[in-house]
């Protein structure tokens, strides 16, 4: 048996996991399922692509960094793109979600996010067309690392980036006052206000973290696969499955859930057939909801 699916699965899982962090934070702190989260991913990726283009126009062609397929322009563009995605999420919250969240029923905000998702997606297709595009057309040579596994320098770099981001977000949410305020908001919003926590600022931080990570996940897909307006929407089901598998509200859970789904998808492609790939996250989601609805790290609500 070829173990290549482990690397493929970890990579797919990283992208799903980074996206699922935003899904799980939005759900536990803002209390609704944001179906536009995948489109934050796509918007972040296209924003990054646009900045890469702008840098190329200003500085000419920049040589990639040693073994990688990209140079400093992509790194700078990713930071700008993440900031742009965060602003997009804040803007959307201001004009749409904050009003809908005030309604008694969460389903209103969920439906609103569906509408926002469609609008964002169509707008991308309108601006950039639906033709796939790439950050780089260079072909990387995969290095054999034993056990029949091959991995490219880009893949290694992105796995390291994922690990660093997950660790950073985990420390932010567990060790800082901002993180404790986020936990407090998710556990008891009324008491959080009484304890002097500014709900509006916690909401902003939540959007910024979720949207920035979505942008990173999107750019990873862009670097390793391709860039399409539908790229984020296609990730929606795996991201929700990962968030629910890990237990809503748990950041380590979302990442672990992402890795499990990524590995299961890659394994299914190798063992059963590529046509089953999309079914895997759906089957896992169903199984979790039946067997352990609160997920791996979840907690029972009162």
């Amino acid at each position: 048996m070829n173990l290549q699916f482990v690397v493929d699965g970890l990579l797919t899982g990283s992208m799903i996991g980074l996206g699922a962090i935003g899904v799980t934070l939005t759900y536990s702190i803002l209390r609704f399922s944001n179906f536009a989260h995948g489109d934050f991913m796509a918007w972040g990726t296209y924003a990054t692509l646009a900045v890469v283009g702008a840098i190329a126009a200003m500085f000419g062609k920049v040589a990639p960094i040693a073994p990688l397929s990209f140079g400093w322009p992509l790194i700078v563009a990713l930071i700008v793109g993440a900031a742009f995605t965060a602003l997009l999420a804040l803007l959307l919250d201001k004009v749409l979600f904050s009003r809908l969240r005030k309604q008694e029923q969460a389903i209103i905000a969920v439906m609103g996010s569906f509408g926002a998702s469609m609008a964002l997606r169509s707008l991308l297709e309108f601006i950039f067309t639906s033709r796939p595009t790439y950050f780089s057309r260079a072909i990387q040579i995969a290095m054999p690392v034993g056990f029949g596994i091959r991995i490219t320098p880009d893949q290694i770099a992105l796995l390291i980036l994922t690990a660093a981001l997950v660790l950073g977000v985990h420390l932010l949410t567990t060790r800082t006052q901002t993180g404790r305020s986020m936990q407090a908001m998710s556990q008891n919003p009324a008491l959080a206000r009484i304890a002097g926590i500014d709900v509006a600022s916690v909401v902003r931080v939540t959007w910024v973290i979720g949207a920035a990570l979505a942008c990173v996940a999107g750019v990873m897909i862009g670097v390793l696969v391709q860039i399409r307006p539908l790229m984020g929407f296609d990730m929606l089901l795996p991201m929700f499955a990962a968030a629910i598998l890990g237990g809503i509200g748990s950041i380590p859970g979302a990442v672990l859930g992402g890795l499990i789904i990524g590995l299961a998808e890659a394994g299914a492609v190798q063992l059963i057939g590529a046509e089953w790939r999309a079914a895997v996250s759906f089957i896992i989601l169903m199984a979790v909801l039946i067997v352990r609805p609160i997920g791996l790290f979840g907690v029972r609500e009162r």
């Binding site: 206000r193 926590i197 907690v299």
Partner: protein, 255 residues
């Protein structure tokens, strides 16, 4: 000498517009006092202090804290203004450790002050020190109430406002909570509390108000109020004073 810390005048408040639960209530709390608000079920006691804490919309009247108008202040600014509120139930963050429950409340303190202030709370409540790593949801009822009070005290409030601190506690913990409040007052903190357990609350209180149908009907020294016939009439509902308080006879009564 009698410096007023909290001055509530002619307060009208309720969850829905046009349906006031608090109907023109006026109370004052002086520095260093424990003031108790009593009253039959449905009198609006909880709504009154929640309105003061910014949790129930106020439609008329004023709340002054140290002479400063805080009537329209949002709930999350209250601790900064000097008013700390302890809700009756769900008053801790259940899946955060005891220590994180205290830390999260330190948001308005200077960063350097927070650790020392947490140590002071541990010194005052040794039970919490022993359980510092325990998720607050796993504490006993009495310890949870302690944590809720410590969380409120940590920011040096001018007035500590509590909603039925003895509710749902076993008798052993009830006396513990009232002893705790008495000690807190001795340390110089001003306290306003709503209580069903009238006897225990009056034992530690300085003054008390009896609230009926959203308005204070009686005010007196806590020591004499228990023997005052007005308590029996207005609060215990044994002998209706007036027709309009008659319907409280079924629901009224000390817990």
């Amino acid at each position: 000498m009698n410096e007023t810390v909290l001055d509530v005048s002619d307060l009208e408040a309720g969850y829905e517009p046009g349906v006031p639960i608090v109907r023109g209530a006026s109370i004052t709390v002086n520095k260093g006092e424990i003031v108790v608000v009593l009253g039959p079920n449905g009198a609006g006691k909880s709504s009154l202090i929640k309105a003061i804490a910014g949790l129930v919309p106020i439609s008329r009247g004023k709340v002054l804290l140290d002479g400063k108008d805080i009537t329209a202040a949002p709930a999350h600014t209250m601790v900064r203004l000097g008013l700390a509120f302890v809700p009756q139930t769900e008053n801790v963050f259940p899946r955060m450790s005891v220590e994180d429950n205290l830390k999260v409340a330190c948001g308005i303190l200077e960063r350097r002050q927070a650790p020392a202030r947490i140590e002071e709370m541990y010194a005052a409540f040794p039970d919490l020190l022993r359980q510092r790593r325990t998720p607050a949801g796993n504490l006993s009822g009495g310890q949870r109430q302690m944590l809720a009070v410590a969380r409120a005290l940590i920011v040096h409030p001018k007035v500590l406002v509590l909603d039925e601190p003895s509710a749902g506690l076993s008798p052993k913990f009830v006396s513990m909570v009232f002893e705790m409040l008495s000690d807190i007052r001795k340390s110089g903190v001003t306290i306003l509390l709503v209580e069903q357990n009238a006897k225990a609350a009056l034992a530690i209180g300085d003054r008390a108000y009896v609230l009926v149908e959203g308005k204070e009907r009686h005010e007196g020294a806590a020591s004499t109020l228990w023997d005052d016939p007005v308590i029996a009439e207005l609060y215990l509902g044994q002998r209706p004073l007036r027709k309009d308080s008659a319907r409280h006879t079924e629901t009224g009564g000390a817990a």
